[in-house]
Subunit: 224 residues, 2 copies
């Protein structure tokens, strides 16, 4: 967030998906399980729940350590990576994000970019995992790495594809020091410039963490 | 956050405790366990972790449903409850927070109040659970309920005491619609006025959730 940024009074838009037992997850990863340990309705003095899940469940972040040996863990992320001006870019391609489409958006160094793809109106509507979600092609990931954006977000469970460009896209982004937000819910968000707040849990030495993310429109003209 | 609030360029202060396996926890509650499911160092294509824990681990929030039948769950919290102007009040009493000490601070309706007690320099330093942490007495909780503050935070694992004023303090606060942040780490924070951002995970129907919380000083004079 920069000195010339002024807060608006516009309400926050929650761009996190809710976490619940057996929610959609990356195939093979540990599922989300939330169980009651004690329960007011069973006569206990309080209700208390236990959660068990992959740290890459729902809306979450990836740290370099996810795909890079010796890479930084999520607790090392500078808070500024996910708080401040961000741009929501709408992607037309129904297969993947490609450099040709990105070039039209004049993406600049240090930007926080959130991609709203067809996933927002399609993939999240399905209770089961959607394999052909729109992903960032490895060429587009290399483009973003070259531009040196600060943070990239996507509106389904991975920046990389299910059968293609999984490790390659992660390597290109995380290897360039770009912080990655996955599992965003952008169906209520129009393309444009926003104030982003995304806070991952402070999981010590971990390669990622579940996160809560919110947006609100910025008023006036701000510099990056 | 109000219209007259101006962002500063001061850095954020992280007031969350790190989450790690077997960290200090409320006696009897499920412990934090973070395990590697796959590991780059073992030849896997990526590192992936699974977490299991009480949702009241480390820095976290309590929703009314924690102690009130039919109370709101954490996913129903208005985001404004934990984003905006907040006041850090330093408590001198080494046993508990009492109304007499609160009265000196002119606490007003809708304030977000974070209590920095002796816990910040004592309880968090211990690897095992500290039973005689400074808590909010039920009388002080009733005082805060009467004032109608918006949000209350404390610098150890519960607003209520271990042997005294546990359910009573929770009932008084949560019953008044006050949102509760527990497990804050305030040792680096001086008393004063700050911009607070605290985001709990969006756990559907859950009585609480782990959270990340940060602060930064506000510049100038702001209205609540």
């Amino acid at each position: 967030m920069t000195q010339d940024t002024q807060l608006t009074t516009t309400s926050w838009i929650d761009i996190s998906v809710p976490l619940y037992t057996n929610m959609v997850h990356w195939p093979g990863d540990p599922t989300v399980q939330i169980e009651r340990v004690t329960d007011l309705d069973q006569g206990d003095v309080a209700t208390l729940s236990k959660v068990s899940m992959s740290v890459h469940s729902g809306t979450h972040m990836d740290a370099p350590a996810h795909f890079l040996k010796g890479g930084a863990s999520i607790d090392k992320m500078p808070i500024e990576a996910t708080i401040g001006r961000a741009r929501v870019i709408e992607i037309q391609d129904i297969e993947s994000i490609k450099p040709e489409e990105l070039e039209r958006h004049n993406i600049r160094i240090a930007e926080r970019i959130l991609f709203k793809t067809k996933n927002s109106t399609r993939a999240w509507q399905s209770a089961s995992f959607v394999k052909d979600f729109v992903y960032i092609s490895q060429e587009a990931a290399q483009y973003l790495a070259k531009v040196q954006v600060q943070t990239v977000g996507i509106d389904y469970l991975s920046v990389g594809g299910f059968t293609k460009d999984g490790p390659e896209t992660h390597h290109a982004l995380l290897g360039a020091g770009i912080w990655v937000i996955e599992g965003l819910h952008l169906s209520q968000v129009q393309p444009g410039t926003y104030e982003l707040v995304c806070l991952p849990l402070k999981m010590l030495g971990c390669e990622g963490a579940p996160a809560r993310a919110i947006l609100r429109p910025l008023v006036g003209t701000q510099k990056a």
